[in-house]
């Protein structure tokens, strides 16, 4: 029973507790770019989940074979393979979706959710756990994307999944469908998330991949000055 519960926990972690977009702040590029329509967001979410689950499985199965020094290139090759598979499938069967996702489909390769989960989870855990983690993260990602794109499509285009909700006589806020709306909705959703965390007393510190980058830069700068000082 305890075993089962922990597996369930791994699966549900990605949905709320470790929601990849709103709490771990991974993969913001695609979350901002393809959420103009619900169908696009759903397609992106499903493609992402497929790649995430498959790459998690392969990486966790090979975790004892991949040498530590070249782990990043290995991960990239594995992920790129699955992205190519998704690209070919969508190109063949859903050409409209393929066109609307455009370059962001190929950019799943460098999406921080997949690389992040490979580094944080799949390289340390068993195949089954990694599969569940991938599924949970994927579901969390899809839900967030659908929520964001619903807000943007309803306000910006007056429709949901192509079904018209707001009559033509009311003007649309087109800006929601464009770049500024993406940033704005994402910021407001995150603020809502922070507010709920405060109410339920579970505040967390959000750390984007950019913050990690900045830390690395600062660190290596400090090392340099320390070295320079030692030499002098």
């Amino acid at each position: 029973m305890a075993e089962k519960q922990s597996k369930w926990k791994i699966f549900t972690a990605g949905i709320i507790r470790e929601n990849p977009v709103l709490r771990l702040v991974l993969g913001c590029c695609s979350a901002l770019a393809v959420t103009t329509t619900v169908s696009g967001a759903l397609g992106m979410g499903l493609s992402m989940t497929f790649v995430l689950v498959c790459s998690n499985i392969v990486i966790s199965a090979l975790r004892k074979v991949i040498p530590g020094k070249v782990h990043l290139p290995c991960y990239i090759v594995i992920i790129a393979t699955f992205v190519t598979v998704v690209e070919m499938i969508l190109h063949a069967y859903l050409p409209d979706l393929y066109k609307s996702l455009g370059v962001f489909l190929a950019l799943i390769v460098v999406n921080c959710i997949i690389l992040g989960r490979a580094e944080m989870f799949a390289c340390k855990n068993t195949v089954i756990d990694s599969t569940l983690d991938g599924l949970g993260m994927g579901v969390g990602y899809i839900l967030t994307m659908v929520l964001m794109s619903s807000i943007r499509e309803i306000i910006g285009n007056g429709s949901w999944m192509g079904i018209q909700l707001i009559p033509d006589s009311i003007d649309r806020m087109n800006v929601m469908n464009q770049a500024p709306g993406g940033f704005f909705v994402f910021g407001c959703l995150m603020a809502l998330c922070v507010w709920i965390e405060k109410k339920t007393n579970h505040p967390i510190e959000r750390k984007t991949c950019g913050d990690v980058m900045l830390e690395e830069i600062e660190q290596s700068k400090q090392d340099e000055t320390a070295e320079g000082g030692a030499q002098a």
Binding site: C29, V109, V110, G187, D211, E218
Partner: protein, 213 residues
Amino acid sequence: MSAQLATFATIFFSMILVNNYVLVQFLGICPFLGVSKKLDSSVGMGMAVIVVMVIATAVTFPLQIFLLDANNLGYMQTIIFILVIAVLVQLIEITLKRYIPALYSSLGVYLPLITTNCCVLGVTILAVQDYSGLVESSGFGLAYAEALVCAAGAGVGFLVAMLLFCGVRQRVENANPPESFKGLPITLVSAAITSLSFMGFGGLVENIISAIM
């Protein structure tokens, strides 16, 4: 000649102002949100991105035309491009370290961080998408040159966005937003406003260039 120059200038400046990679096309959001906290890091990151983008496009564009398209291997694009970029970044790092140590000391830190950055892979794919059609109509040389100008413009656009947003952030830090908005949410909302200001440039660049030339 002048018409060609005008085309180049239009491509370059529209990549900076109208199709800005960060603020309009959402490529490279991660470094944009994180690194723009510090001015010197933003400049270094921007410079490194310009260098890597131009070199990566310079290598991947002919690769696509002469290797992938010529052999009907278009579906290998993603996997080849990301590997080429990863190798290139390593090569640039080694070369700089060996021959131009002064440049290495200022850019070396940023190079490994750029490998898995979506704006670099993005620019190589978009350059192929937009300019490979030109190869048939006006020759490889011209298409190649336009792709390189586009990559350079995208890099400079990234730098401009980083610098502008760095200034915006310093103002935001002194402001007093609602409790829930503190930190990342208010940063995103201010990015929205910065991006809104870039929408004002739509259609402007072509008109200005045609007026000058």
